[in-house]
């Protein structure tokens, strides 16, 4: 929507926190894409002569138990985190939106079936179910992604379903039907564009959640396996040396916090900007 897009951009620009979030995400993306050219040292190659160096000029974040540069590993960790969260959010958005569309549009028994399935998944505490799944599949990044996708698509399904139920009663759906549109056509061409706003917001917020969840699983040893530089496994690794070398945990911790916060800031900002009610503007 041309004018609506403009309006959303305008509102977003006014929201300083959202802009900060956007800037942080851009920065993280930049780090992830250009990691090989930015990092000062090899993130994987051990250098046993330089173990546990405190932050200094050459190693701004110090070195770990194998003498590897923590800064380089944190930068490479951005790659892993963003890759995982983007693929998982992509997968769950597609699954959730599809099921939500079907459920909301057709209603009846199909809706009942899909929603009870959603309830079943929701009945488990997400991260624990993901742990169980990842544990059963065996450790590894791919399995973590699979596990997270399996437990977190429900939000999309529910949000989309409820929006679809409101939109499908609108007159333009009837008028589309009067023109001879098929159900599939109406669902994809007419209803989907009308329910995409909450999906975008949810996807942004979920990015942060997935980064956090993936880091948790890695911390527990289920995610990225050494020597892959991953924030969660770096935390786990540094835990042992917390007293002597706190920088091993502090910097990956800051990275996780920053990334999660960035996506939450942007998500909240988007939610406010896409809110169709104009009250927020009146307040100013």
């Amino acid at each position: 929507m041309k004018s609506a897009k403009k309006l959303i951009c305008q509102r977003l620009k006014k929201n300083k926190i959202a802009i900060v979030g956007l800037a942080m995400i851009t920065f993280l993306l930049f780090l992830a894409v250009f990691a090989p050219w930015i990092v000062p040292h090899d993130p994987i190659e051990p250098n046993l002569g330089k173990r546990f160096l405190s932050p200094c000029k050459e190693y701004p974040m110090g070195t770990d138990d194998l003498g590897r540069c923590v800064l380089s590993r944190v930068i490479y960790g951005t790659r892993v985190s963003l890759q995982v969260s983007m693929s998982v959010v992509g997968i769950i958005a597609v699954i959730g939106v599809t099921l939500g569309l079907i459920s909301g549009y057709f209603g009846g028994k199909l809706d009942e079936l899909i929603m009870r399935f959603v309830d079943t998944v929701l009945a488990f505490p997400g991260i624990i179910l993901a742990m169980a799944v990842a544990g059963a599949l065996g450790p590894g990044l791919f399995n973590v992604m699979l596990a997270l996708a399996l437990v977190s698509w429900t939000g999309f399904a529910r949000v989309v379903r409820s929006s679809v139920m409101a939109v499908k009663e609108k007159e333009f759906v009837e008028s589309a039907r009067a023109l001879g549109c098929s159900d599939l056509y109406i669902m994809t061409r007419h209803i989907l564009p009308n329910v995409i706003t909450p999906v975008i917001v949810l996807a942004t917020l979920d990015m942060g959640f997935i980064i956090l969840a993936a880091s948790s699983l890695s911390f527990l040893g289920l995610g990225a396996q050494p020597p892959i530089p991953d924030w969660g496994s770096m935390l786990n690794n540094g835990r042992v040396y917390m007293r002597t070398a706190p920088f091993l945990t502090i910097f990956p911790g800051i990275a996780i916090t920053t990334a999660v916060m960035a996506f939450n800031f942007l998500g909240d900002g988007l939610r406010d900007a896409m809110d169709p009610r104009p009250q927020r503007e009146l307040k100013k």
């Binding site: 041309k2 007159e171 009837e174 039907r177 009067a178 023109l179 001879g180 007419h190 009308n194």
Partner: protein, 313 residues
């Protein structure tokens, strides 16, 4: 030649409060090139009749009877076959042009839909055709307007665009459900002119659903007056205005400002709990005991003038 022939059409809804009898056995014929007006009060089932013809009603509805379009019974067509009729053979123009258009698609895209669907036009060709269509319904600078969203159009423009959409595939029958309601009087007049022109140009027939006698008199050849889901009087336009016979029709005309503004007492009966006998008898000034018990049949009063009332028995 008869284009549309409706035989004993009945539409029922099953609701928690009971069965809603929205259409109660309607017989109608629509000739090729004819414009037939369906008039009646709010809630008499006019819109339901229109939706029943195109089978656009929800799952909890039951439609009985026959709707013969060029000899094919629409009620018995499969869903896929019905989709090929909608928009291509029979199209519908809705009342509220703002809510009847998708707010997140441009007008041009929505107008192109029937072309892409029924005539399998390529995007570029459809775009060109859309601009022609918008020009035909007198929308200024059509190529710019096609890229705009429905809310950027004025009410009259949107209604023009709706008409263009209804005509996209040159249908033989157009069902127009209150096409001028909600527009101000000057725009109403323009839209009526446009519809007239368009009908003349395309030779299509139209079923005009309205409660506005003025609009009906401008556009229709004949009129069917509907009350509580039944046709109670049917006549040519001039005959009906000169010589309304049914007490309800008379009351309807009497409530016009230039004929004394005498509103009829009471309202349309609830479609769940319809009165027995003649459905109008509780409001009828001439009601007798016979009207309460028996249901009057359609009586022929003259050539093309039928009425459902015992007064003329």
């Amino acid at each position: 030649m008869t284009l549309l022939s409706i035989r004993d059409l009945r539409t029922y809804f099953y609701t928690e409060d009971g069965v809603v009898r929205a259409v109660n056995g309607i017989d109608l014929n629509l000739e090729e090139g004819e414009t037939l007006g369906i008039i009646g009060e709010t809630g008499c089932g006019k819109t339901m009749l229109g939706l029943s013809i195109l089978r656009l009603l929800s799952e909890n509805t039951k439609v009985e009877g026959e709707v013969l379009y060029r000899g094919t019974d629409l009620i018995r067509l499969s869903k896929a076959e019905m989709r090929k009729i909608r928009g291509k053979e029979i199209s519908m123009i809705f009342q509220n042009s703002l809510s009847s258009m998708n707010p997140v698609l441009t007008v041009g895209k929505q107008l192109a839909e029937p072309l892409e669907m029924h005539q399998h036009m390529k995007k570029q060709a459809a775009k060109q055709k859309v601009i022609e269509m918008l020009k035909a319904v007198k929308i200024p600078s059509p190529s710019d307007r096609a890229a705009e969203y429905p809310h950027e159009f004025s009410g009259g423009m949107r209604q023009r665009a709706m008409i263009a959409m209804g005509l996209a595939c040159t249908p033989s029958l157009i069902i127009a459900d209150e096409p001028t309601t909600g527009l101000d009087v000057t725009i109403q007049a323009q839209i009526i002119e446009l519809i007239k022109e368009v009908l003349e140009h395309s030779g299509a027939s139209m079923l005009l659903i309205t409660h506005d006698l003025g609009v009906a008199s401008e556009l229709c050849n004949s009129i069917a007056v509907m009350y509580a889901g039944e046709i109670i009087e049917y006549a040519g336009i001039i005959e009906l205005f000169k010589n309304p016979r049914h007490p309800y029709t008379r009351g309807f005309f009497g409530s016009l400002p230039n004929r004394g503004l005498k509103p009829m007492p009471g309202t349309c009966p609830s479609m769940i709990n319809l009165p027995g006998g003649c459905k109008f008898h509780p409001r009828c000034p001439h009601a007798s005991s016979r009207c309460e018990k028996e249901k009057p049949d359609m009586l022929k009063l003259g050539e093309k003038h039928y009425v459902r009332c015992f007064l003329y028995d």
